[in-house]
């Protein structure tokens, strides 16, 4: 959510084993994690006293272990490998001797909001400096030990070598002395030249994989604290609703149930407040679930109880058919439309979506008078500190947040409502409490990706060139989750593939229409790029067909000459994912290169030549999160049945710090995009979600997964986003392929409303 601040860390800490243990607080504290948690790694950052003026990203142990803090949350993107491998490379540490330690929530790290495909692009330079700083201090320690000029000392492969004499010392041997060296300032640091990289740009194996395949990896749901209670919460089914009546007598009789507690809620805007609910607390999860089933309760009525997702989408489609609020204007789109030789219109829609992380959210809390400790699968531990602190009436820094591994995040776990629940319940019961969300809870009480509708109109001149382009969108803004009155898509949501639409059309206009919120709206992997790219990439394909052109040639012409452009216009200021346009311009040359390579994966000739085989290819290219991604999809459509045969991804993500994790993110994005395009649909009736589990909110299964490939374009541009940008072009590439294969144009997602899935 547009957090721009990044605290560039300038210092670095090197601490001895003894000091490390002391700082880690390993001997103190009344809380001991269960012995069944061998994968648990102590987070030791907050044990550091402020007056040491050190920043702990790196420490070296006398046994040669280099501990590197990962301050960002691991949710499958590989960040616990990606950032530490950058540090290790710069400091000449050997990867086999690196231990990755998860950082606690602590603002001294800078932003920990693991969201927006930001971790590498925001911290690549910082991590390099951390590594270079550590290397410099080790070299200086060696120089001091040998009484030689530091220029004669060189760190290489976990040792410092004295070049003239050939003698050397291990990092471990130098650790104590290195910790006493002056922390070098940024300006004096010498970063490695790219040709000397050992790990950056290499497929370093994922740090946590061995733990993940042996059951040792610890996720939020796995936390075990002595004496803890487990809570399951029945929540208000409709936004704004509050508990009216409660009869908990039967629930309290269930063996194992210890307490039933109310959580106040029904607050609007919903922010990250817990929903109104009743928690059943028990000594095991089964008992708490049984107790919850035995609750008898009723909820108050709210205006949102009229909300019906199907009719809402129809309303949005109606609204986008009429003139809206103008956001950007180039030339005179309306006049050019009137003068056009041929006009085309299309309206698209997409439903609400849920994150459905494989791990339902979970948090464990121990609240005390003067502080609270949290163990949870969260994308933003500092946000947890702030919101739990507010809920408990404590300053944020009194909230200690241990970040576990996340069993998927996709944006859901950056909303700490579930952590606030755990903290409040711990305060009420005086015991550690783990809140366990079930799959039904997860589907019923998400922060949903917004339902949407978009209208497009294009005018073609007599040569088939696009002379005018109008686009208008409506969806409830994420802003409604945070502030009252939000009833149009916000500029930050138009930044995501709508107002930055890259086509060089003289007369073009971008508008929004009204859409109010009736549920908690949140960001989901690639956010409004999902519906924005679906509309833009679908309509461009429709216009290409209407013009009788090959989609590749048509798109190349539509994108126009190589250029770097600023989508800002008038009052609309393009945020560019929080980055400068100097460093990360909107670069049509890169988009076009991705387009050419994507088209080369496909056979688009059948598209231009008519269709009869029942098989067809579709392509879509899209820039998001500062990266450029193209998807080529081949489908077969026969007798109303759809089969996805192949899917190929081409991406330009700038420097790929870990190409294997870039590839896996793109594979994952294709599967995520397939799920949402083919079958993703959250339905709301009378204000409540009517889906409940994977039988009615299905995800793609292995037998539905097509053969895939990923091509990463070699680049020396700065590393850009990876986790999200693969998703947006997937849906339009599929619907474009369906059109090529069958002549059927699907404009309303999901696809299984129109075709049976093979």
């Amino acid at each position: 959510m547009g957090a721009k601040s990044m605290d560039n860390r300038k210092g670095i800490a090197l601490v001895s084993r003894r000091k490390f243990l002391q700082l880690a607080g390993l001997s103190g504290g009344s809380l001991i994690l269960g012995a069944s948690l061998p994968g648990w790694q102590p987070a030791w950052a907050s044990g550091l006293e402020a007056d040491t003026k050190l920043n702990l990203f790196v420490s070296v142990d006398s046994d040669d272990t280099v501990s590197i803090i990962c301050h960002r949350s691991e949710m499958g993107q590989g960040i616990r490998t990606g950032l530490p491998q950058v540090v290790a490379d710069e400091m000449e540490a050997e990867w086999a001797k690196v231990k990755v330690v998860q950082g606690l929530g602590d603002k001294r790290y800078g932003s920990q909001n693991t969201d927006g495909s930001r971790s590498v692009r925001r911290f690549y330079d910082t991590m390099r400096k951390m590594g270079a700083s550590a290397r410099t201090m080790l070299e200086e320690a060696a120089a001091q030990r040998w009484s030689v000029p530091v220029a004669e000392c060189e760190a290489r492969a976990h040792r410092v070598h004295h070049k003239p004499s050939g003698k050397s010392a291990s990092f471990g041997e130098l650790a104590e002395l290195a910790a006493t060296q002056k922390v070098p300032d940024d300006a004096s640091l010498k970063l490695k030249p790219a040709e000397s990289f050992k790990y950056i740009g290499k497929p370093v194996p994922t740090y946590d994989t061995p733990d993940m395949v042996t059951g040792k990896a610890v996720f939020g749901q796995d936390v075990v604290i002595d004496n803890m209670l487990i809570a399951s919460i029945e929540r208000a089914p409709v936004l704004g609703s509050k508990l009216e009546k409660l009869d908990d007598k039967a629930a309290k009789k269930i063996t194992g149930v210890i307490a039933v507690e109310r959580l106040d809620g029904g607050i609007e805007p919903p922010l990250f407040h817990p929903l109104s609910g009743v928690a059943v607390l028990a000594t095991n999860t089964w008992a708490t679930m049984q107790g919850r089933k035995a609750l008898k309760l009723s909820w108050s009525d709210t205006p949102h109880a009229q909300h019906d997702s199907a009719s809402f989408i129809e309303t949005l489609k109606q609204r986008v058919s009429e003139p809206g609020k103008v956001i950007t204007q180039h030339g005179d789109a309306q006049k050019a439309l009137e003068a056009a030789d041929k006009r085309l219109q299309a309206t698209y829609s997409a439903p609400y979506l849920a994150h459905a992380t494989m791990e339902p959210v979970s948090a464990t809390a121990l609240a005390k008078e003067d502080g609270c400790e949290i163990w949870a699968c969260v994308q933003d531990p500092q946000s947890v500190q702030a919101h739990v602190g507010t809920a408990l009436g404590l300053p944020a820094e009194k909230i200690k947040v241990n970040v576990t591994l996340l069993g998927g995040g996709f944006g859901r776990k950056s909303k700490p409502d579930f952590v606030v629940e755990a903290a409040l319940l711990s305060k009420k019961t005086g015991r550690p409490v783990k809140v366990v969300w079930s799959r039904e809870d997860d589907i019923h009480h998400d922060y949903y990706h917004a339902a949407s509708a978009a209208f497009f109109e294009a005018g073609l001149d007599k040569d088939g060139k696009v002379s005018s382009w109008l686009q208008r969108t409506a969806f409830p803004s994420i802003g409604g989750t945070f502030a009252p009155g939000a009833d149009h898509p916000a500029p930050f949501e138009l930044d995501l593939g709508f107002a930055d639409m890259p086509f060089a059309i003289d007369n073009r206009q971008c508008e929004t229409a009204q859409a109010e919120y009736h549920t908690r709206i949140g960001w989901l992997r690639s956010v409004s790029n999902i519906q924005n790219a679906f509309g833009v990439c679908s309509f461009a394909d429709e216009v290409a067909h209407a013009a009788g052109s090959n989609p590749e040639e048509f798109l190349l012409e539509l994108i126009g000459p190589d250029r770097k452009f600023d989508p800002s216009q008038g009052e609309y200021k393009y945020n560019n994912y929080g980055e400068s346009q100097e460093k990360f311009p909107v670069d049509t040359a890169r988009l076009k290169e991705v387009l050419r390579r994507t088209a080369a994966k496909a056979d688009l000739s059948s598209v231009a030549n008519g269709r009869s085989s029942g098989e067809g290819w579709g392509i879509a290219v899209h820039r998001s999160f500062l990266s450029y991604v193209g998807i080529a999809t081949k489908v077969r459509v026969q007798n109303g049945k759809l089969e996805i045969l192949e899917m190929h991804c081409v991406c330009d993500v700038g420097l790929a710090v870990n190409p294997d994790r870039v590839e896996s993110q793109m594979e994952g994005a294709m599967v995520f995009g397939l799920s949402l395009a083919l079958m993703g649909e959250i339905k709301m009736e009378k204000g409540a979600v009517s889906n409940s589990n994977f039988h009615d909110y299905p995800l793609l299964r292995i037998q539905q997964c097509p053969a895939m490939s990923v091509e990463i374009i070699a680049s020396e541009e700065p590393p850009a986003g990876v986790g999200e940008p693969g998703v947006p072009p997937v849906a339009p590439s599929i619907t474009n392929a369906i059109f090529a294969a069958s002549g059927t144009r699907i404009r309303d997602l999901p696809i299984n409303r129109h075709l049976t899935l093979a």
Binding site: V224, T357, G409, D660, S664, G668, Q703
Partner: protein, 163 residues
Amino acid sequence: MELTVNGEKHQIDADENMPLLWALRDLLQLTGTKFGCGAGLCGACTVHADGMAIRACLTPVKAVAGQQITTIEGLSSAGDHPLQEAWIKHNVPQCGYCQAGQIMTAAAFLEKNPSPSEADINQAMSGNLCRCGTYPRIKAAIKDAAASHPGKGDEINGGEVNG
């Protein structure tokens, strides 16, 4: 009630209808077996009962009393089951949450069908969801494990071919 898990006998104090999943996770603190849906729809809780892959979230403990339960923690002593090695080689996991279930399903399946076709793999693994989208690598890893350990299933099953 007595449960035998990973070769060890445990006395548990539980309602006989408690699903095995919660007995493993809450009572024995074997948290490698995951809670994903509670309804047999995602496979994250897959364990073995006498060698057969079962969904622990739907299996009451009374149904497996007397059987040999194997969880991901007990699949191999050193994390070196051919599938675990193949998973590491192909760098399969992303978030990792579903992977124990994936591996347990695949392990039971490969015992029965040591040389599976692509269609066999699809069918066997169709009950295990992965939201991160590791399916292509899961397939590759299973094929690799099968190819690098031919006949392992035959030995264990006394040469019986069960495709």
